[in-house]
């Protein structure tokens, strides 16, 4: 995972509310056993017609979406299935951040583990972003701020540990592995099946 510090990009706006992970990556693409290459199937049913041709009016197919790394979505993006293929597909396509007023729990967790920054902003900032597709934004992870020229910076919540991992490009598994002694102590103190059989 590459470290994230500051993301500067124009936005792609998808105003639909409750964009679920079945839309982000439909189930028929989940028979893969690797993470790579899912970007081609990102939003497949919205992006391609029945013959597999790109629909010219879908936002991700439009020229202005090229190179954008920030997706602004309607409220409650990522609801539904726990498939990590959803952030894998977004990252493979080139996104580094998803911005909304609500981001579903499992999708948020999965995003944090793949260098996709979940940015929950207030209603007013969100409304402005929805109304100004293609706006240039700056997302500063160290400061936990989203900045737009001419507006006050918008803070967003991020746990200290996740921020540390993202800023340094390290994954969480290393930390868990370093807790081996505590885990062993817990296993032997437990009254039930936690003890080794």
């Amino acid at each position: 995972m590459n470290p994230i510090t500051v993301i500067r990009s124009r936005t792609v706006v998808m105003p639909s509310t409750n964009i679920d992970t079945d839309q982000i990556i439909p189930a028929r693409f989940l028979t893969t056993t690797v993470k790579e290459g899912l970007g081609a199937s990102l939003f497949a049913d919205w992006r391609y017609d029945a013959e597999g041709h790109a629909k010219p009016d879908f936002i991700l197919n439009r020229p202005e979406a090229a190179g954008c790394r920030v997706l602004v979505a309607g409220r409650n993006i990522g609801c539904g299935s726990s498939r990590e293929h959803a952030p894998w597909a977004l990252v493979d396509f080139g996104f580094q951040a998803v911005v909304s007023t609500e981001i579903a729990d499992i999708f948020r967790n999965n995003s944090l583990k793949n260098g996709l920054l979940p940015v929950v902003v207030d209603e007013a900032t969100h409304a402005w972003l929805l109304a100004n597709p293609g706006a240039e934004v700056e997302i500063d992870l160290a400061e936990a701020q989203l900045r737009i020229d001419g507006r006050d910076p918008t803070p967003f919540p991020i746990e200290a540990f996740s921020r540390y991992c993202l800023l340094n490009g390290v994954d969480e598994l290393g930390f868990l592995l370093s807790q081996d002694a505590a885990i062993s102590a817990h296993e032997s103190a437990a009254p039930d099946a936690r003890r080794s059989a």
């Binding site: 409750n18 079945d22 839309q23 439909p26 056993t33 609801c79 990590e84 746990e159 868990l176």
Partner: protein, 468 residues
């Protein structure tokens, strides 16, 4: 701080290897890790890349359900599996389990089934456990008073390697359901009505505890239906306090504790229910006696009305308009006019024996309407055997429905069991998202009773018409 604790808080604190701090999330021990073919391959690859082994294979159980075929000849007869990549994924799980020493209930195993159905059946789902799976409907197991939730594939790797997860402590949400469900109104209707009330993100950040007279009166299978759809309200987990109903269900199951260990376990489990007066971060109330059979009309599970009701009008709401356009339904029209082309009875929500009995009870001696395709897919091989022993398969076949081997099947259409473009499916599953059951498929979620009644009439039908 109050010393009165909720069920969730008791289970949570008993599994904290390290509590949450300002700098790090809590390290939580996981008692049972269920895994399946779709969300695990990349996790095993991650272990391989780092030279790690599985810490607790004895607490890990694998099965295959999502991309598996449901046609008998493909499961048992050696016929090739229709979808190549699915067949490859199945073989990959077999290899991964063999290499890492994990028990696998494989394609032809008599104990195989949808992961959330077999855990309870085997008695390995137990009160007070922490249970995870790379699947959002892991919430189902909360019906036993376990803390059970879905995780992503990276986290599957974390649990394989360390038997632990890093977690931020969620908040608690009491759903108090008073009264009793009227005849013909089911646990599915209850949970759909709740989601309709609080919305599809109403539970985000919370663990729900379902409480009250109506919940106590539910069977274990009904409780599982309720907890299953907690995620459709945005909550990662839903829990119900264990009681005599729970213990009776588990007693004597192959992987439940036996003998003195059983008595000791029950004694521990009796201490789990929330202390009277324990405080929840949020509460809603629902009156079960006022509920009716429910059906969804839109593209998320919160877009739901009583079967006798009409599709609401929401002028000037472009998201709502898009959902109506996708569904091809007209705001203001009775939902009872909606045509049905496909009927699916199955899934981890409603694929247990009592669900099949309920559907068969409506279908007995009746026929699926002309032009309607009905698929009945038991949730597990054990459910299939039990249903066949009672002759339920004969009732479905005589009505004109197809009877298959177990699996997720048309709930998500990964294995080729799909609904056609533009077709209307009434389904006992849990998600009516665009394309969930096939490209362009239009899903209406309902109970097994409502699905069966609608199969007979070929349009959305109140099952109480058939239950006299």
């Amino acid at each position: 701080m109050s010393s009165l604790r909720t069920l969730f808080e008791k289970v949570w604190s008993a599994h904290e290897v390290l509590p949450q701090s300002a700098d790090t999330p809590a390290v939580m021990f996981i008692d049972l890790h269920l895994t399946h073919e779709v969300t695990s391959p990349q996790a095993f690859s991650a272990l391989r890349e780092r030279g790690l082994k599985v810490r607790r294979p004895d607490l890990t159980l694998a099965t295959m359900d999502h991309s598996t075929p449901t046609r008998t000849e493909q499961v048992f007869g050696g016929a090739p599996i229709t979808i190549d990549s699915a067949a490859k994924q199945i073989r990959q799980l077999e290899r991964n389990c063999a290499e890492f020493g994990i028990e696998l209930l494989g394609l032809q195993d008599a104990r195989r089934g949808i992961v959330h159905i077999i855990g309870p059946e085997l008695g390995i789902t137990q009160p007070g456990k922490t249970i995870v799976c790379g699947d959002s409907h892991t919430s189902t197991h909360g019906a036993f008073g376990a803390l059970a939730f879905g995780i992503g594939t990276t986290e599957v790797g974390h649990v394989l390697a360390t038997q632990c997860l890093l977690q931020k402590k969620p908040r608690t949400f009491a759903v108090e359901v008073d009264g009793r469900l009227p005849a013909g109104v089911t646990a599915k209707d209850l949970i759909l009505a709740l989601i309709g009330q609080i919305g599809v993100s109403g539970g985000t950040g919370y663990v729900i505890e379902y409480r009250g007279e109506a919940i106590r009166a539910l069977s274990m299978e009904e409780r599982m239906t309720v907890c299953n759809m907690s995620i459709e309200a945005g909550a990662r987990a839903g829990m119900i306090a264990p009681d005599e109903v729970t213990f009776e269900y588990l007693r004597g199951r192959p992987r439940a504790p036996q003998g003195a260990a059983w008595d000791a376990a029950v004694a521990r489990w009796r201490a789990l229910p929330s202390d009277p007066g324990a405080v929840f971060d949020k509460t809603v109330r629902l009156d079960a006696s006022a509920l009716q059979p429910m059906v969804t009309y839109g593209t998320n599970p919160g877009m739901v009305v009583p079967v006798g009701g009409s599709i609401p009008k929401r002028a000037g709401d472009p998201v709502f308009d898009a959902a109506m356009k996708y569904m091809g339904l007209v705001p203001g029209e009775p939902i009872g006019d909606a045509p049905i082309n496909v009927v699916f009875v199955g899934s981890c929500t409603n694929g247990r024996l009592s669900d099949l009995r309920a559907a068969a009870n409506v279908m007995r001696g009746r026929k699926v309407a002309a032009g309607v395709h009905m698929l009945v897919v038991p949730g597990s091989q054990s459910v299939k055997r039990d249903a066949e022993a009672e002759g339920l398969d004969e009732i479905f076949r005589a009505a004109g429905a197809e009877w298959r081997e177990s699996g997720c099947s048309m709930c998500l259409g990964m294995n080729g069991d799909t609904v056609g473009k533009g077709e209307y499916a009434i389904s006992t599953s849990n998600r009516n998202f665009e394309g969930r059951q096939g490209v362009g498929a239009r899903t209406l979620l309902a109970s097994p009773e409502t699905a069966a009644a609608s199969a007979i009439r070929g349009r959305v039908t109140d099952p109480r018409e058939f239950l006299s």
